[in-house]
């Protein structure tokens, strides 16, 4: 079958024997079977998806796979962050084993980051690792969670505290699926796109300032923005697969963001991941300015862009009451980027100039949080 996807882009993640392709373009799901067989020989797949995505894309994916002679099994879970639980890990593992998936077959995650993280973790531990394919359907999953091999679930003590490194064998990002994503979820994913600009690509941030509307409405700019984001993440992952060094830069906005997610009990009605990251990125720029590292104007420019994209940019934008600053600090201390008691933060010297600071004094953070706290 000739390749009928006009704006298809391929980003390669270089990891030696664990290298893989990320395919990006409109209507790729209809070609999933062929794209998969061109790269690996699995004859059987177990698909995990959620209740929002299943009615929209499960049939199309199944049909494409079956047309290419691949046997399929499917499991649909409830949508939402709470799905990333030990109970569901057990259930998905059970499902994969019942489908008798062997090391040479594959498990497919069809959905957002929640389904990707949970399913990837299950694929990592069944038979100590079976093949894994990501079909991300949220913007956040396409530009972030489906790339890099971090998988996991949440624990009572914090988000993503339990998991594994397990690289996918292939990522198929069908950008047309984003047409059905809610504007709020699209914006949340967009926060991660902006993040790549803020880390070390000021020109990409400027490009986004010009083309934001086109990325939101679809078309070639959307594919371009996703491909550039994947490239940025792939480069960092290739340099530091197991997050011992430079990969930590990807956590820009995330230490504050995770604390806020925790403070709102992972309640997506109040805050979703990308929104936490948006507020967290603004806080990171403001905190950097307060530490005399960056200009306060940069923080304002970042906030303005995120706000124009429909994102929250301060704790005031979160509905309902937040726990007091010292409880937020506790959540930061429980976050996994703690080493020997000191706090590791990603700070910045300006747009596109983020860096790892691993000796941030907790007292400075606490007084900053107290100042910014809405109550």
């Amino acid at each position: 079958m000739p390749d009928m996807v006009a704006d298809k882009r391929i980003v390669r993640v270089d990891l030696g024997s664990r290298s893989y392709d990320i395919l990006i373009g409109r209507d790729l799901i209809a070609h999933a079977g062929g794209e998969m067989l061109a790269r690996l020989s699995a004859r059987k797949v177990a698909i995990v998806t959620d209740a929002n995505v299943a009615p929209l894309y499960l049939d199309a994916l199944t049909e494409s796979l079956q047309t290419d002679g691949i046997e399929t099994f499917a499991m649909t879970l409830a949508a939402g962050e709470k799905t990333k639980s030990f109970d569901n890990l057990t259930a998905v593992t059970d499902f994969i084993l019942d489908a008798r998936i062997e090391r040479s077959d594959a498990v497919i995650a069809l959905g957002g980051g929640v389904i990707g993280d949970l399913t990837g973790f299950a694929a990592a531990i069944v038979r100590r690792g079976v093949r894994f394919i990501q079909v991300p359907t949220s913007l956040l999953a396409q530009v972030d969670s489906s790339v890099g091999g971090k998988t996991g679930i949440n624990a009572r003590q914090g988000k993503n505290l339990v998991g594994a490194f397990h690289q996918p064998d292939l990522v198929i990002a069908d950008t047309a699926t984003l047409d059905t994503l809610s504007p709020r979820e699209f914006a949340a994913g967009y926060a991660e796109v902006v993040k790549y600009g803020l880390i070390d690509q000021p020109d990409f941030f400027h490009w986004l300032e010009k083309h934001r509307a086109d990325v939101f409405s679809g078309g070639i700019e959307r594919t371009e923005a996703i491909a550039r984001s994947c490239q940025a993440k792939a480069a960092v992952v290739a340099a530091d697969e197991r997050e011992t060094g430079a990969r930590a830069l990807l956590n820009l906005g995330h230490t504050f963001g995770h604390a806020l997610e925790r403070a709102t009990n992972y309640d997506s009605a109040r805050l979703v991941h990308g929104e936490g990251v948006a507020i967290g990125m603004v806080l990171a720029h403001e905190f950097s300015a307060r530490m005399n590292l960056a200009s306060p104007d940069d923080a304002k420019r970042v906030a303005a862009h995120l706000k124009a994209a429909g994102l929250p940019t301060s704790m005031h934008d979160i509905d309902g009451k937040l726990p007091p600053p010292d409880i937020l600090m506790d959540a930061i201390g429980q976050d996994k980027k703690v080493k020997g008691g000191k706090l590791t933060f990603i700070l910045t010297r300006g747009i596109g100039e983020a860096f790892i600071a691993d000796d941030v004094p907790p007292s400075e953070v606490l007084s900053f949080l107290t100042e910014k706290h809405p109550q």
Copy 2:
């Protein structure tokens, strides 16, 4: 503190940046703190053990660690194979997170293979991997499960079907702990010792035929047998860390053994792992003889040695009714050493001449099982 362990042996497992030492000798638990600090800088440890081992060795281990200024937390689980469950994985993970173990701290497994497999798996997935120390107290754990980084739990569908590769940072095998092991469990572990001889060291098998009684009664021969076993396993693991090739030889006797464990519902009153392996090794030799690969005399010699060690050597030795041969075949098919529908078995050309056969016809196995079946 001068080294007061007279017969201490050190076996190095060579795995590049993941290399580690196995310490073997009497009364090493009393030196655990110092041995650990000589190799890694953890200041906090979470110890997981079982209800049989805790009253015997937990205080001694805790005291040694605390004397060296290491903070300790401990969790005691029920003893037995059923402990390797998803529920306990959740509980142990929770315990480690509550103890706020960071990547630079450590988790310690104090017990047999059950505690080692479960705890190692939890250490692998908490924060995507924290440091892990094995303090094996059963013979099986000292010569087999604590070496090599395979960790995991059982699933409804079969044994060890869920897990991770996670190498320990240190193994401390205190041979004096084996004095309190039941004779039955000691014999079960001894089956794995014999296995190393049967795979590729006929001289070790002959040495065991002479020194079996000394190994059982303790003393220098016990340390020697354990060190040789660890060396044998370490060599295979170093050559094939993730079990894609030669490491499969370690499964001699295990495909039949696992099927029998499953057939007896992992009921340790009827069969423990090493007993399944003992019967499995005899069956592997007998099946090899039946396939005209080896002399039937070798199978008899192997059976005689295992029987003298107090081990079962045929399905007739298992109490109670076994499922019919076709159900046993099913269990073999569900075992994880299945590739693309064909059966992989470890067969032999004689004592110390095992090899990987990956095209064994299921029909031959079925008729062999039917012949050997007691009912």
